[in-house]
């Protein structure tokens, strides 16, 4: 197990390093010189050269990369060419908002999917079980941002119960913070919940066919008791994998949902960065998102090994 963990950790570190090279190389081919962009069309060549020196963009690409990557290791993302403010703290602030959004969405998805999926599996011959399956199929077909727009229409336009957008920090007003996040959480959670419901149903159905569950039932445990005691841990193995993959999907889905609800998260920062041609900022945000996806995959793989003794 420890050997596996070390090997997997090495893969994670290597992948992150290669990803950093890829992101840097990609942004390096961007047309346009940050110094020229910052100074505008009327700048003198001397002024551009001076600013280039200040930005460090006059150095060879390898030196720039090492500088950037070295900074990343210490949490320093550099200074924005456009706003001249340090990028790290901006990303830190926004990351917190996005994480709250993603985790809330995940909780909504789990709260919906585990009971519904299990119920749909146990009662798979009933019309209600079939109805849950059908509803989840429909839920998968609705992108999170569309769910967001529909929820805004129902809860903000029609019922006028919740705000249609905007974000209130928790320190300002915990109640308003909650109200501002309810619809975004639901938008992300309903759709992912639909996907997850199908996997939970399928996993529980598979487990229900296993011999050990039949044995447990034969030993006098009720079917619910047998499923609870022996089935759910086994059913959780494929579900954990999907959950991890979904966490990555949620992270990216959050970028779009932040746009729908005007929430100042990482996605908002990224899109504003692209619009303002703030390249170093875009580079930093992309790197954080990619590293997050790699980290999630790592955690999923390790959890998978912990849950399934057959893999050890």
């Amino acid at each position: 197990m420890i050997l596996y963990l070390l090997k997997r950790l090495a893969v994670l570190l290597a992948s992150t390093a290669v990803a950093a090279v890829a992101v840097f190389a990609f942004m390096a081919v961007l047309p346009g010189d940050p110094a020229e962009i910052a100074l505008g069309v009327n700048a003198t060549p001397d002024a551009v050269a001076e600013l280039r020196k200040q930005f460090g963009t006059d150095r060879p690409a390898v030196a720039q990369f090492l500088d950037w990557a070295g900074g990343l290791l210490q949490g320093d993302f550099g200074t924005s060419y456009v706003t001249s403010s340090p990028i790290g703290p901006q990303i830190g602030d926004r990351l917190g908002v996005t994480l709250v959004l993603v985790l809330g969405g995940m909780v909504v998805a789990l709260v919906l999917a585990v009971p519904l999926g299990t119920f749909a599996a146990v009662r798979h011959r009933d019309p209600l079980g079939a109805a849950i399956s059908a509803a989840s199929q429909l839920g998968i077909a609705i992108p999170a941002f569309l769910a967001g727009i529909l929820l805004v229409f129902v809860f903000a336009v029609q019922a006028q119960a919740l705000p249609s957008g905007g974000y209130v920090p928790i320190a300002e007003s915990p109640g308003e913070w909650l109200r501002s996040l309810l619809l975004p959480w639901l938008s992300l959670g309903l759709v992912q919940g639909a996907v997850l419901t199908r996997y939970v149903r399928s996993a529980v159905l598979d487990v229900m066919r296993e011999d050990y569950l039949r044995t447990a039932r034969a030993k006098g445990r009720g079917s619910t008791g047998a499923l609870w005691r022996h089935g759910l841990r086994n059913a959780s193995i494929p579900v954990v994998t999907v959950l991890g993959l979904q966490l990555a999907t949620l992270l990216i889905g959050a970028v779009v949902v932040e746009r729908v609800f005007v929430i100042p998260g990482l996605g908002d920062l990224l899109l504003n960065g692209v619009a303002g041609r703030d390249l170093l900022l875009v580079q930093g945000v992309v790197m954080v998102l990619v590293a997050a996806v790699l980290l999630i995959n790592f955690v999923v793989d390790v959890t998978y090994h912990l849950l399934d003794p057959r893999l050890r």
Binding site: S15, V29, L30, I142, I252, V256, V290
Partner: protein, 286 residues
Amino acid sequence: MSRRTSAKANRGRMNAGLLAGGALVALVVLTALVSFFWTPHDPTLVDAAGKLREPGGGYLLGADKFGRDTFSQLMVGARTTLYVGVVAVGIAAALGVPLGMAAGMTPRGWLSELIMRVNDLVFAFPALLLAVMLGAVYGAGTLTAMIAIGVATVPAFARVARAATLQVMVTDYILAARAAGRRRGAIALRHVLPNIGSMLIVQASVSFAIAILAEAALSFLGFGTRPPTPSWGRMLQESQELLFSTPRLALWPGIAIALAVLGFNLLGDGLRDFLDPKLRRIRAER
């Protein structure tokens, strides 16, 4: 209900899923094809007098804030959706299938390891991030969206192709072909590819649904199809500010996206059941 009748009913439902998916996909394809020859109005024609026109009088679903006919826009939007889906899935299959097959045919070699590690790395760059990066470099548009979605979907195809190839490689007919001295390339083309084809078709259908979602999201963010070419995602984005006054503008593209994705998902699921008799039996027993 006896187990047997239930199995029959289940099989009926599976077929119903395949049929419903096929019908929805056919509807989208037909709409896109018809839009080449006919739309009720010019979908890009701006008409200030017809701004936010209510449905009726030749405008089946009304008009948007520029007076453009919603129904015509939906029709041409279907074309955009399919175009992006076909090219993106084509890129993903063209790159992912040979890579996955190569990895599956040399399971213990360095090549396999390299391919799968690169695969994992590409997997960490979701379509949206790739599109944003490509958009920043080359400018946002349908082409960059298609490439981004296509490249991001390569790992899915490579994984499926690898898993299916691994299964095929241990069969007797591959052993026979190898014993007969056939070259790897010939084995791949004549024996492996035809036998993993059904899995790839299923993957294509599922990936198509994901491509539609990705295109809609990208267009919604302004990183997809550029105006004036109609796209469902951008129709949604344009409708958002009018949600309080004219919610129907969001309703129609929303329904179109959901139905198209539902169609391809159902088709994929249905094909999987239809093409894999073993799975069909297991499902039927449930």
